[in-house]
């Protein structure tokens, strides 16, 4: 099975045998890959009960819960890595979720769709309509993405909060793109963060 591009980036950079919490783990695709190929001890949190059932049926340890509420129960620094893939923009309080990730994990991987990608900009500039793209397929009224952000928004936020960026990867389709023009060219971004 091929992992989604941002998950593949994360999977490549998680060391063997690490303890990982995947927040918003879906049906456990990344967790299963990490467990099967890297011997990772992976745990998940997922809001959708159908996804939780699917993940548990894969033999994964997944808890049904909401990143906005249920991260509070995890002890400090109890994981090597906390992962939040394509979920930040759906949180009610993304800044607090980010703080929680860095409290629970010694490092955090965060991936999100870049709202400043040129296609999104064009759609808004020329069409005057909220963009519906491959990565943002929902319309304005049914999208779970309630806190759109851009690569530059995120960079500014982590600088403001004194969070260290240990790595950053930018993707357009399945291809990498450079960091310099990422705010324009990247469809989504993956950041590796720490507060230590």
């Amino acid at each position: 099975m091929t992992l989604r591009a941002d998950l593949a980036v994360i999977a490549r950079h998680v060391p063997d045998g690490a303890r990982v919490l995947d927040v918003g783990c879906g049906d456990g695709e990344l967790m299963a890959a990490l467990r099967d190929t890297r011997g990772v001890d992976a745990r998940g949190l997922e809001i959708d009960r159908g996804n939780v059932a699917a993940a548990v049926a894969r033999g994964l340890s997944v808890i049904q819960g909401d990143a906005d509420v249920d991260l509070a129960g995890y002890p400090d620094q109890s994981f090597d890595y906390a992962i939040l893939s394509q979920t930040l923009q759906t949180a009610r309080a993304p800044d607090r979720v980010l703080d929680e990730l860095l409290r629970i994990g010694r490092h955090a991987f965060v991936s999100f769709p870049n709202f400043a990608h040129w296609r999104v900009r064009l759609s808004l500039l020329w069409g005057g309509r909220m963009p519906v793209t491959r990565l943002l397929p929902e319309r304005w009224y049914d999208t779970p993405n309630i806190h759109h952000l851009t690569v530059d928004d995120f960079r500014a936020h982590v600088a403001d909060r004194k969070i260290t960026v240990e790595g950053a990867w930018f993707l357009s389709g399945d291809k990498s793109t450079g960091g310099a023009a990422a705010n324009f060219l990247a469809e989504h971004a993956v950041f590796l963060l720490t507060r230590n």
Partner: protein, 376 residues
């Protein structure tokens, strides 16, 4: 109904009963000897005894989880979950289910004969706890030659036993499945049980529990069951099933017959329960549930019950269960997280309230089946 061939080893099979010498030292300090345990096994125990799985039953259930109940002729109470090719697959697991200590389906309880007097114990039977039930099950497993369990699975009071197993014998439990359950009885849980106990004790036929030579306190026990039964159902479920519909009549009788269908239903539930259950057992087992507080047994912190555990846990709650609501499962999950345990949890949707785990619940079967299939 699945067919379970009789195994060669007389310890294994349907409708088994063993008298173990004991003594079993109870939480109260009392010692019980001998200890009768009625149980059933399904499937084949592997040569290394590594495929054994224990099912723990709820308050008024019995050991006939997947096989026919010889008393009623009905099929087992959880054939949806346990059997050949079922989520708990008896082609793979050697499944054991034992009647709990204090009950009345063949295991030692207040209706058993007290060897000191030659008469039924009645209220001289020692007060027992959930942990005492678990200790008795452990004695049975020793007798059956089972060390480590691939899993302990239970709903409601069975879930309490599964939690207690994982806390009491962490090295003997690879996986625990806790369905529609709780780590402690709340004031509301105790209150409902106390209503039931007082109904039994207010029945003049109860006679301080020494009724075994005459009529049992059926009227009191029926009321106890009626009160408890309400807690097993959801308000929406009751409304859907009965609403305000009248029972076999066009209009209200302006009397106190069972005018409403719900009254008739509850009366039937109460009465039919008295045919199959001993009133004193009901007192003892509800007491055990009320005493249950796993955190209290571990210095007031639930996480301490699971510190360093290697057991995998799976918890399931139902959104309409107001007896042991989702919040109770969540607090167990938090404690397991704090202890670093491997835990899965899901809240499932059902219209049926607490009883949902015994009824048609395909998602439950999928979760439990998947969780147990991952045993390796």
């Amino acid at each position: 109904m699945p067919d379970f061939p009789a195994p060669a080893d007389p310890r294994f099979g349907l409708a088994r009963r063993v008298t173990l010498p004991g003594p079993l030292t109870l939480d109260s300090g009392a010692r019980l000897s001998p200890v009768d345990i009625a149980y059933e096994t399904y499937g084949t125990l592997a040569a290394d005894a590594g495929n054994a799985l224990l099912i723990c039953h709820a308050l008024t259930m019995d050991q006939h989880v997947a096989g026919p109940n010889p008393r009623t002729g009905k099929q087992g109470w959880w054939t949806r979950m346990v059997g050949p090719g079922r989520p708990i697959d008896t082609d793979r697991f050697f499944v054991v289910c034992a009647n709990v200590l204090g009950s009345c389906m063949g295991s030692s309880g207040p209706a058993s004969i007290d060897p000191a007097t030659g008469c039924p114990y009645g209220m001289d039977f020692p007060v027992i706890t959930i942990r005492d039930m678990v200790r008795a099950q452990a004695m049975l497993l020793d007798h059956l030659g089972i060390g480590t369990l691939a899993g302990v699975v239970g709903g409601s009071m069975g879930g309490m036993q599964a939690l207690s197993w994982a806390a009491t014998y962490p090295d003997r439990v690879r996986a625990a499945v806790v369905i529609a359950s709780t780590a402690r009885h709340t004031a509301q849980n105790i209150a409902f049980h106390e209503v039931g106990r007082q109904a039994v004790m207010a029945d003049p036929k109860w006679r301080d529990g020494a009724y075994y030579d005459g009529d049992p306190p059926a009227a009191g026990l029926a009321v106890a069951r009626m009160a408890a039964h309400i807690t097993y159902l959801s308000e929406a479920g009751l409304t859907e099933k009965f609403g305000r519909r009248l029972q076999a009549r066009e209009q209200k009788s302006f009397g106190f017959d069972a005018d409403f269908q719900i009254e008739s239903y509850l009366r039937y539930q109460g009465l039919s329960f008295t045919d199959r259950f001993d009133a004193n057992s009901y007192l003892y087992i509800t007491r055990a549930m009320d005493y249950f507080d796993l955190a209290e047994e571990h210095g007031g912190l639930l996480a301490n019950a699971f510190r360093g555990t290697a057991t995998r846990f799976c918890l399931v709650s139902f959104d309409t269960d107001w007896l042991y609501p989702t919040a109770e499962s969540r607090s167990i999950v938090q404690a397991l997280n704090a202890a670093g345990a491997r835990v899965s949890f899901v809240e499932l949707t059902s219209p049926y309230g607490h009883d949902a785990f015994l009824l048609d619940a395909p998602e439950l079967e999928r979760v439990v089946g998947g969780f147990m299939a991952a045993d390796r």
